[in-house]
């Protein structure tokens, strides 16, 4: 409930530095950009709710370096990512993979919107039953009614 940020994280990070450090950077800007993207999607295991790009933890630094080494050695982004996952498990991925265990996670939100829309439509239809004795309005009446309604709204 308490939303003051980062209490624990700074406790852990306090000994070392900040997030990504200049000395870690690769000379090739394109490669460096890829490394940044990858590390922003990997979760730091020590402080747990930060990406390793943001984390000052020592382990995050090691993994950042590792990613850069792999990229320099010619790995694709997916390969570098996989190298981390094979060591630390899918837990390190901030974006959970779409697989059997996560079908509910990924598909429930759109399904919910769809269900909600269908439910609303059904509910609306039930509410639109016009009493049988009400004669339909003539075009002239409709126009006047609209005018009155708009007047009311002003």
């Amino acid at each position: 409930m308490r939303t003051w940020f980062l209490c624990a994280l700074l406790l852990m990070a306090s000994l070392s530095a900040h997030a990504v450090e200049p000395r870690e950077r690769l000379a090739d800007p394109a490669l460096e950009a890829r490394a940044r993207t990858i590390s922003s999607e990997l979760r730091c295991l020590v402080c747990q709710n930060e990406s390793i790009d943001e984390s000052g933890a020592d382990l995050a630094h090691d993994i950042r370096m590792f990613v850069r080494e792999r990229l320099t050695a010619g790995d694709t982004d997916a390969q570098a990512m996989q190298a981390i996952v094979s060591r630390y498990g899918a837990f390190v991925l901030l974006k959970p993979p779409v697989e059997r265990a996560t079908y509910v996670l990924w598909y429930a939100p759109p399904a919910l919107v769809l269900l909600g829309l269908i439910g609303t439509v059904i509910w609306l239809r039930r509410r639109q039953v016009v009493p049988a004795d009400a004669a339909p309005l003539s075009p002239e009446e409709t126009r006047r009614l609209d005018g009155l309604l708009r007047e009311n709204d002003g």
Partner: protein, 663 residues
């Protein structure tokens, strides 16, 4: 002595709350006026008692009474006075006390300001609030007593986590808690209405100010937390989809839906059981948030000392409060009949869409936050659900929402003219197209989604202004007439306009954060960094002692085109007591963009790591939130909430204009 007084006050408050939660209820059932009136006096007395407890704990902190365990664990004689006071709620026990204090404040407010309620309704509302207070007072007294003593007293305390030694602590938790706990009033109204089996326009009208007030507080609370993170974190992030943040965001989403659906109840006498459900869920989410944060079942960067006993206790509270109210809902809600026709293309139709999207958005955040817990409980794999999930699921739901916010208020009640509304929004199309084109041109090759986000913001902003212009018939009647109309518009209408404008401003801030630039360099004194047309020169770093820390203060000269803009002073503060370093960033804003500087480590050769960020429109995120909350306050100040709202409002409903945002 004073500490014991606080402890006794809290115990006494528990007994008063027990009376408050029973006697008025019986009185309401038996139509006994005297018994019903007990609720009001109890609420006021309980407020006095919890305030006393709060003051007693503050006294222990201010006087550094190290016989109190809570003070030992969270304070120190060298701590500045401000943090001695705010440190009271910088820990689990103290923050629970703040929670209960806010709860009794709300109940007292109901007792004082809701005298125009039918006595039975007021009695029941106060009784329900009393029940919540009983639960949480028991929780504090049995599992989290802030007044526990120890002897002999240690010579000094362990101090407060340096991260919390920030002015943000003075404002962020109180606002946040006021928001959370404020929704207990709407919850109590909902439960009372279920007991009575009646929900009508008058009910909606009575709840509305309470919901609005809590919503404003929560908006401010969340925005302040986000801003606090932004300026302390050292790299300028402002939202992390952390479970604890989500725990505050979910009640906000449903609370927003509640504000809108209660308008429909008031205007159209329908959506009743839905509105009741939203009121229950909003506060339930506050309670669930409390559970998540204090039981340790989720991993969060926000640490609270957790303890399974506390978790079990709160879970029990949840089952009683939420389970109880939802049971009541299952029994009584089917009898709540809504009236009348309901056309999809109408103001109420738009509000239903708003409710649908906000609820689905909240459900998505909920699912993402708790999914790791669900999987783990079933023995599944350990997973992380981070920002990429929320960006891919939550954000797309909010896009149609923001678009609809522009159109909805243009539709008439009962039967709207969508085509007409869309035609009358031509200015908004032009503005959106212009903004998208300009943004695309200026940031060519940059993130495309951000361009669309800016377009969205432009759309909403101009659509809201168009709606306002229509309302005052701007350019259709002489200007003086328009001004007269503007003056006579109800405050609630202004409230809506401001709140929606605020949303547009925030959306622009969210979108533009994609254009942030960063430069992280190792500098020797005299070294420079170039970013976004600015040149930053590290002049020197000096060591300055603080009250309970040692600061390395960097002087960084900022120039633009050779002219001095400012000298910035980011700091690193070392707290010897905790052996911890915090970063005090320096931010220079011109309200269009922030220049953000954080000082990193130094190495043995006297080089400093300096992080500089240029963040366009980022301040708009919080400015927008403030405008939103301001809109809420303006709406709250609507004269008609107070005057003539007494019993019979429902009878006069058709004769009197309704104080509804977007009338």
């Amino acid at each position: 002595m004073i500490t014991e007084l606080g402890h006794f006050a809290l115990i006494l408050a528990l007994f008063v709350a027990i009376i408050q939660s029973t006697v008025p209820l019986v009185g309401a059932a038996r139509r006994h006026v005297g018994w019903m009136a007990v609720g009001r006096s109890c609420a006021l007395v309980a407020f006095g008692l919890t305030a006393l407890a709060m003051l007693a704990l503050m006294h222990a902190y201010v006087t550094s009474d190290f016989t109190v365990i809570n003070v030992i664990e969270n304070s120190h004689t060298d701590k500045p006075l401000l943090y001695k006071i705010t440190g009271v709620w910088g820990n689990h026990e103290g923050s629970m006390l703040l929670w209960v204090f806010m709860l009794s404040l709300c109940a007292a407010a109901v007792a004082v300001f809701s005298n125009n309620l039918p006595p039975a309704l007021q009695a029941r509302v106060l009784a329900v609030q009393g029940m919540i207070a009983v639960g949480f007072l028991l929780f504090i007294l049995f599992t989290s007593n802030p007044f526990a003593r120890t002897f002999p007293a240690p010579p000094n305390g362990q101090g407060l986590n340096p991260v919390l030694q920030d002015p943000g602590l003075a404002f962020h938790p109180p606002f946040l808690y006021l928001g959370y706990v404020g929704f207990s009033v709407a919850f109590a109204f909902a439960v009372a209405a279920l007991i009575e089996g009646r929900v009508d326009a008058a009910w909606a009208r009575w709840v509305r100010p309470w919901t609005l007030a809590s919503w404003c507080a929560l908006t401010i609370g969340i925005a302040m937390g986000s801003w606090w993170a932004y300026y302390t974190l050292g790299w300028g992030g402002w939202w992390f989809w952390d479970p604890v943040e989500n725990a505050s965001f979910m009640p906000w989403l449903v609370g927003t839906a509640l504000i809108h659906s209660s308008i429909v109840v008031e205007k159209r006498d329908t959506l009743k059981s839905w509105t009741i459900l939203l009121a229950i869920i909003t506060f339930s989410l506050s309670l669930v948030g409390t559970f998540l944060v204090r039981s340790g079942v989720l991993t969060s960067v926000h640490a609270f000392a957790t303890d399974p006993t506390r978790g079990t206790f709160i879970l029990l509270l949840l089952v009683v409060a939420i389970g109880g109210s939802l049971t009541l809902y299952a029994i009584r809600a089917p009898a709540l009949k809504g009236g009348g026709l309901f056309a999809p293309i109408s103001r109420e139709g738009a509000l239903v869409l708003n409710n649908l999207l906000l609820s689905c958005g909240c459900a998505t955040v909920f699912l993402g936050t708790l999914y790791p817990l669900f999987l783990d409980a079933m023995g599944g794999p350990k997973l992380s659900v981070g920002f990429p999930f929320f960006n891919r699921t939550f954000a797309p739901m909010m896009v149609p929402m923001v678009i609809a916010v522009g159109v909805g208020p243009m539709l008439a009640w009962k039967r709207g003219d969508l085509l007409g509304a869309l035609q009358r929004l031509w200015v908004a199309y032009i503005a959106t197209a212009l903004v998208v084109l300009v943004a695309f041109y200026v940031t060519y090759g940059g993130p495309v989604l951000a361009v669309l986000g800016l377009g969205l913001a432009a759309w909403l902003f101009t659509a809201v202004l168009t709606e306002f212009a229509e309302r005052i018939r701007l350019f259709r009647v002489p200007l003086s007439d328009s001004v007269r109309r503007a003056i006579h518009l109800p405050r609630s209408a202004y409230g809506m306009t401001f709140a929606h404008l605020g949303l547009a401003v925030s959306v622009a801030g969210f979108a533009a954060s994609a254009y942030a630039q960063e430069a992280i360099e190792i500098l020797k004194p005299g070294g420079t960094i170039n970013i976004a047309g600015y040149v930053l020169t590290l002049e020197n770093v000096t060591r300055i002692p603080g009250p309970n820390y040692m600061a390395d203060d960097a002087a960084i000269r900022v120039t633009r085109g050779g002219e001095l803009v400012t000298v910035m002073h980011p700091e690193r503060r070392f707290f010897p007591l905790q052996q911890q370093t915090t970063s005090e960033t320096s931010i220079r804003t011109n309200f269009l963009a922030d220049l953000y500087v954080a000082l990193g480590d130094s190495d043995t050769e006297g080089d400093w790591t300096v992080r500089v960020y240029w963040k366009p429109l980022v301040p708009w995120i919080w400015i927008g939130a403030v405008i939103m909350a301001f809109g809420g306050v303006v709406s709250l100040s609507d004269r008609r909430w107070r005057v003539g709202a007494a019993a019979g409002a429902s009878r006069r409903r058709n004769a009197q204009p309704m104080p509804v945002a977007g009338e």
